[in-house]
């Protein structure tokens, strides 16, 4: 039997750089409450959002991905020539073809990389990060640029008060490379296709979600996945310094934090709350929150972070990552 030669691979992977991008335009709750039947108080209490950023017609999903990805590549110190694979996690491209990753890479100046998009909705960044880490460990990739990018505003019915106050636009990115000592832990992931109908798009291409069903799922099924990621990494909940759940709804973020603390996480564990000023940006929310928190000094190099993605599909994925 013919034997195929395979690359040797490396022990692990780690984050080398971060970046994010948001549109200029800030949309506050007061502005929305003039358009749909809602109030600032209701939005703050039920969703926890104060402001969100919405892109204009002249700023595409790819534009935001290029900006965030370019910053992460610069931050890594590698330069575009050091990247050989690009993954874009997204669920809001205008059409299925063309995909985002190849054109994003070209505009950043990354020549002929392996390039593909991942659609795991709001869990997409954690799925892409897991793929990147394992491709590097197996030796299929050297340094990988992983981007979460969404232009949800193109898919919002601005007369629907249940979605228009929640979703927003952004991109977040990380460069991942080889490491002798692994700094990206094993992924714990899964899906619940039997709940496919609770988040989706209408025939007119507008996002809908059954809020209470999604809330129930997120507050009952996600913490076990996060705890599984901690266990797989050989750690205990008390080892987690920083919790970065997908910024779906502040109430969900707080519920996951409370449940993790009941399971042994520390009371001084830092919990991402980027949703307050950024809204729910689906696959962009985790890398952007991380980038914002690092810039603000809220997280520091070496911190043990727990990333927790969950979203439409339904899909979920979680892993422990050491802050670069």
């Amino acid at each position: 039997m013919t034997r195929l030669r395979m690359p040797t691979g490396v022990p692990g992977a780690r984050m080398l750089g971060l970046g994010s991008a948001q549109p200029e335009r800030v949309v506050g709750n007061e502005e929305l409450s003039r358009q749909v039947d809602t109030t600032d108080e209701w939005i703050r209490k039920r969703v926890g959002i104060v402001n969100r950023r919405i892109a204009g017609k002249d700023q595409s999903l790819v534009d935001m991905a290029v900006e965030a990805g370019g910053k992460a590549v610069a931050d890594s110190g590698l330069g575009p020539s050091g990247i050989d694979t690009v993954i874009v996690a997204t669920c809001t491209m205008p059409a299925g073809i063309p995909q985002a990753a190849a054109q994003v890479a070209d505009r950043i100046g990354i020549k002929t990389p392996g390039a593909f998009d991942v659609n795991a909705a709001c869990a997409g960044f954690c799925y892409g990060l897991a793929a990147a880490s394992d491709m590097i460990r197996a030796g299929s990739a050297g340094n990988v640029l992983v981007i979460g990018a969404e232009k949800l505003s193109d898919w919002i019915d601005w007369s629907d008060r249940s979605t228009s106050v929640i979703f927003a636009d952004a991109a977040g990115a990380a460069v991942v490379g080889p490491a002798e000592q692994p700094e990206i832990g094993p992924v714990a992931w899964g899906s619940a296709g039997d709940f496919v109908e609770v988040i989706g798009t209408t025939p007119e291409g507008r996002i809908y979600q059954e809020g209470q069903s999604v809330f129930r799922w997120a507050t009952s099924s996600i913490t076990p996945t996060a705890l599984a990621a901690v266990e797989k990494a050989g750690l205990a909940p008390s080892d987690i310094d920083v919790l970065i759940p997908h910024q779906a709804n502040l109430r969900i973020v707080e519920a996951i934090a409370r449940q993790l603390r009941s399971a042994g996480a520390r009371t001084d564990m830092i919990v991402a709350d980027d949703i307050i000023e950024s809204g729910n940006t689906s696959s962009a929310s985790i890398p952007m929150a991380l980038d914002h928190m690092r810039a603000a000094g809220t997280v520091r190099g070496g911190d043990v972070m727990l990333l927790v993605g969950f979203g439409a599909g339904l899909t979920y994925a979680s892993q422990v990552v050491i802050c670069p």
């Binding site: 039920r46 209470q212 809330f215 129930r216 507050t219 009952s220 109430r251 519920a255």
Partner: protein, 79 residues
């Protein structure tokens, strides 16, 4: 499990989820009007109660549980 024990355990869940003092959580209290608990917190309380008592509390049943006593009775008859 006695109704008293269910009430004690339920009150602990309500305190953890909604920050309401356990002593306030008595059978005659309305979740919404007396304890100021909104529908999202009710979902969280239901999720934790399902786990604690081994019952199913679907959304349509949850909507009928107006008072703490309603919840205790529902849990007691469905365990």
């Amino acid at each position: 499990m006695s109704n008293e024990q269910i009430l004690t355990d339920l009150a602990a869940i309500v305190e953890e989820v909604a920050g309401v003092d356990q002593a306030e959580v008595t059978a005659d209290k309305s979740f919404v009007d007396d304890l100021d608990i909104d529908s999202l917190s009710m979902v969280e309380i239901a999720v934790q109660a399902e786990d604690k008592f081994g019952v199913k509390i679907p959304d349509d049943e949850l909507a009928n549980l107006k008072t703490v006593g309603d919840a205790v009775t529902y849990i007691a008859s469905n365990v």
